[in-house]
Amino acid sequence: MRILIVDYGMGNLASVYRALEECGGKPFISENPDDMCEADGIILPGVGAFGDGMKQLRERGWVDAIKRQVGEKKLPILGICLGMHLLSEIGYEGGITAGLGLISGEVRRLSSMDTTIRIPHVGWNDVDKEGESRILENIPEGSDFYFVHSYNLIPKDQEVIVGKTSYGEAFVAVVEKEHIFGTQFHPEKSGLTGFQILRNFLRFCREG
């Protein structure tokens, strides 16, 4: 499966590339939105702030192209961490910014009544599955994944939530809506359990 990794100057592309290779995919990193035509699926990685992320995507011509390819032509997409946030409608990190609008909802700072909670949320935490999911197939309940974030996605539609994690309070760890997937954690950095997520995505790109 040819998987395009979106290069918009944010995040650790090399790790995603290597992990996809290990999982049997054929990844390629691209700065050119036109290359989506040659891909069976795309990964929107990302480390950084929402406002800056959207700015970079827009300047490089990705925003309309992703909306067209993913929104209209149903190209499978996996957003990772900031990449998952950018799928939403609006973000409050680094100003108020409109997102790609592929998942309805917004991105806000992790908040907790518990003042002993340290933010960012960094480290391995377990994911509880919610309902049926293709991206979490063959993942044992309560598996640990690597998280590193201060903000989280709050979807409007509860149906898209397929995984939740607790840190002070419960937040959304995995979303899934038809061919659109997002993980708050980093599958490319979550060892063998993370690889299973990437394999699931590759399988979806192949079989639908």
Binding site: L13, S15, V47, V122, G123, N125, P140, Y167, K189, G191
Partner: protein
């Protein structure tokens, strides 16, 4: 529930893996790549890779080597040593590191922490602090691999770094480093009591009990250790079993996948 992290630290000097005692008398203990592969197979929680020669030798980080190391690392990788500016950080992250570790430059140019945090996100900016206990009982921060006193008191400095935009603090006791006599719990508490960002305790781990103390008494979110893994038979996996039995949340590894 968030798990504590057990993080092997790899110190490297001109491509060889080294370990010292008290930031001195460095011993060559092998090469970096096989160590990374072993830790990867064992599914450690995270790795810290520090080039200890870069800053003293006035060298830029070695991006090619970092790219090579990171290509075999499927757990989070923090890289430090020789970082002086935004461009260096960008190149290290592009080489495959997930986080960068800044130490000496933070004293020279604290603004870099803010700039880097705004640009790349606080979560990938780790500020490393090396400290030594002074005659009056307070802890002083040292830069340049523990050689240069900075006049900064450790708690205040950690707080300043948090305000500047650090996402994590790696606190190392210079005196305990490599001794395997246990973490300096007082030092760790000076930092964990002052900041709300995660703190990684480092320097002195020799037994499972030491690690337990750094977490339970020191209130650290993670522990970094080197000698215990390199010079003893103790492994990250057994440490986790020990901690788990004592009620500390540790990451479970899926043996089936």
């Amino acid at each position: 529930m968030l798990k504590v992290r057990i993080i092997p630290t790899l110190l490297w000097k001109t491509s060889g893996l080294v370990k010292g005692v008290g930031f001195d008398s460095w011993r060559r203990i092998g090469t970096v790549m096989p160590a990374i592969k072993v830790y990867n197979t064992r599914q450690v929680d995270e790795l810290i890779l520090l080039d200890i020669a870069a800053t003293p030798d006035g060298m830029e980080p070695n991006y090619d080597l970092i790219a090579e190391f990171s290509s075999e690392c499927f757990v989070p990788l923090t890289v430090g040593g020789g970082i002086k500016n935004i461009e260096h950080i960008k190149k290290i992250l592009r080489a495959g590191a997930d986080k960068v570790c800044l130490n000496s430059i933070a004293y020279e140019n604290p603004n870099l922490i803010t700039e880097a945090s705004d640009k790349f996100g606080a979560q990938c900016i780790v500020v490393s602090i090396d400290a030594r206990k002074g005659a009056n009982g307070s802890y002083e921060c040292f830069s340049e691999c523990g050689t240069r006193p900075t006049g900064q008191e450790v708690g205040n400095w950690a707080e300043k770094m948090e305000k500047a935009g650090a996402g994590e603090i790696l606190i190392t006791s210079i005196e305990r480093d490599g001794t395997m006599q246990g973490y300096d719990i007082d030092l760790i508490r000076q930092v964990t009591d002052k900041v709300r960002i995660p703190v990684i305790a480092s320097g002195g781990a020799g037994t499972y009990e030491h690690i337990y103390e750094a977490l339970a008494k020191g209130k650290a979110s993670a522990v970094a250790a080197a000698s215990i893994f390199q010079f003893t038979q103790q492994t990250p996996l057994e440490i986790k079993k020990y901690l788990g039995d004592k009620g500390i949340p540790v990451r479970n590894i899926n043996a089936k996948l």
